[in-house]
Amino acid sequence: MEQYRIDPSKGLEFGLYTLGDHLPDPHTGERISAQTRLNEIIELSQLAEQAGLDFFSVGESHQEYFTTQAHSVVLSAIAQATEKIKIASSSTIISTLDPVRVFEDFATVDLISDGRTEIVAGRASRVGNFELLGYPLRDYEELYEEKFELLNLINQQEEVTWQGKHRAPLNQARVIPRPKHGSLPIWRAVGGSPSSAVKAGYAGVPMFMAHLGGPASVFKRTVDAYRDAAKQAGHNPDELPVATAGFFYAAESSQKALQDLYPHINEGMKKTNGQGFPKQNFAQGADPHNVMNIGSPQQIIEKILYQHELYGHQRYIAQMDFGGMPFDKLKRNIDLIGSEILPVIRKYTKQ
């Protein structure tokens, strides 16, 4: 775990992630400007740090209703605005970027942040980036696998000689600057299905598992598949961190939490994904065994501890700002995390 800068003696890490979505508040129909949204994301990272959270990450999406396409630039601003919190992408769509440039960017952000930067590399669920950035969608999988591998290679060695299909060859290329600690933690983003998780396991890289909803036990299969695959490929699963990421919202009661959150998720998903979130499924999100961390602080503590018991993961990452959630509600949630949730989670998960 040390290689990934994770210290299990401190307990489960707690972070926030934003996809960088830029959606109207469904209650008012109003949308803040892209500039305001970007500034709020940066401020959110500062508030998260002040509340004692461990991690903050920003996603890359290239379509309507998003605003952090240049996510590494946003992370660079966050690197300056914060001092202690770990920062990362969630995720970087490595398939349609040049791994050399990505590494240069993130190594630079790492130096600016004094060694706090990580990369989560994913494949994109929406694929507007392929046409926009000039890559054929038919190479969706191959582009990801090849570029993810190259990114890891650059991370492991300063001088790289490499040949592949989707990028010009590198001949004793020195990719600089180097990150503060020589290399960066690089995670594979997994959408919750075991078939993608096993690839992370075979490669022996940390897994960042995002999930929408459903029983927590369903995702245990994914975590198990990941660790089994890692073991099979000769890696030690005990040394590979797992992060889980999903919807989070705390309020005085689970009823109030569902009321506050539902319109944001439902309307936001209609716009970004083409389908709303069925109310019936959302109502089940309040169940103690559901993977969505929605409810009162006490209920959320119990859920996260239950998930930790199931997965034995090292980091939980909450998504609370989706769908035009007003900033005052985000502040209130960060307060609740810092004052009520985090202390208990740490107490019961530290080794």
């Binding site: 379509q63 969608l137 009321q259 083409g274 109310k279």
Partner: protein, 188 residues
């Protein structure tokens, strides 16, 4: 309520003829309902490559979005090689797995032989069920002999289409009420 009438083939005329009558029946029986006819023959639709339907350009985007926005859909299809045509299957492949959640879907088939009667029962219903449709169980099956000069010449067929339209709309209205009653139980 929004209703889409989908003519699922780019070959031949029988299905389109039946769907034209379906449109006319809808407009006559339910003039207040917003109806859209999509004849796949009129659009240049690409094969599904797995992306989110919102990410397709042009006609593919228009057709998938229009279907996704509908409350009820009446699908008309010919039978080719003892199955639905590839053009119709492609529409299903372009859509999300649960695309028909909360939608009512009625079906109509045109065929050259009565031997194809159970194709919808055995093939189309299973696809629609997988995609979470509320299926109108009775469908209309029309044989070649019922057409002449691009007209339906069998009054019984016309009456069956009228009933399919009625069943689809009534089921859709009722389903919306059921859904509303269910959602009213939640206080969010």
């Amino acid at each position: 309520m929004k209703v889409v009438v989908l003519s699922g083939s780019i070959v031949g005329s029988k299905t389109r003829t039946a769907m034209d009558y379906t449109m006319a029946s809808l407009e006559k029986q339910y003039p207040e309902i917003e109806t859209t006819l999509i004849d796949l023959k009129d659009y240049d639709i690409q094969f599904s490559d797995g992306r989110n339907y919102l990410d397709y350009p042009g006609d593919t985007n228009y057709v998938t979005q229009t279907i996704m926005e509908a409350d009820a859909i009446i699908i008309g299809t010919p039978i080719f090689q003892a199955s639905i045509p590839a053009t119709l299957k492609n529409i299903f492949d372009l859509l999300p797995v649960d695309a028909f959640r909360d939608k009512v879907v009625g079906m109509l088939a045109t065929a050259g032989s009565a031997k194809h009667y159970l194709i919808l029962e055995q093939q189309l219903k299973s696809i629609l069920g997988y995609m979470k449709a509320q299926i109108v169980q009775s469908y209309v099956f029309i044989e070649e002999i019922d057409f002449d000069q691009k007209q339906i010449v069998n009054d019984d067929v016309l009456a069956r289409i009228d009933r399919l339209v009625e069943d689809t709309i009534i089921l859709s209205e009722t389903y919306q009420q059921i859904k509303q009653a269910k959602e009213d139980q939640y206080d969010f």
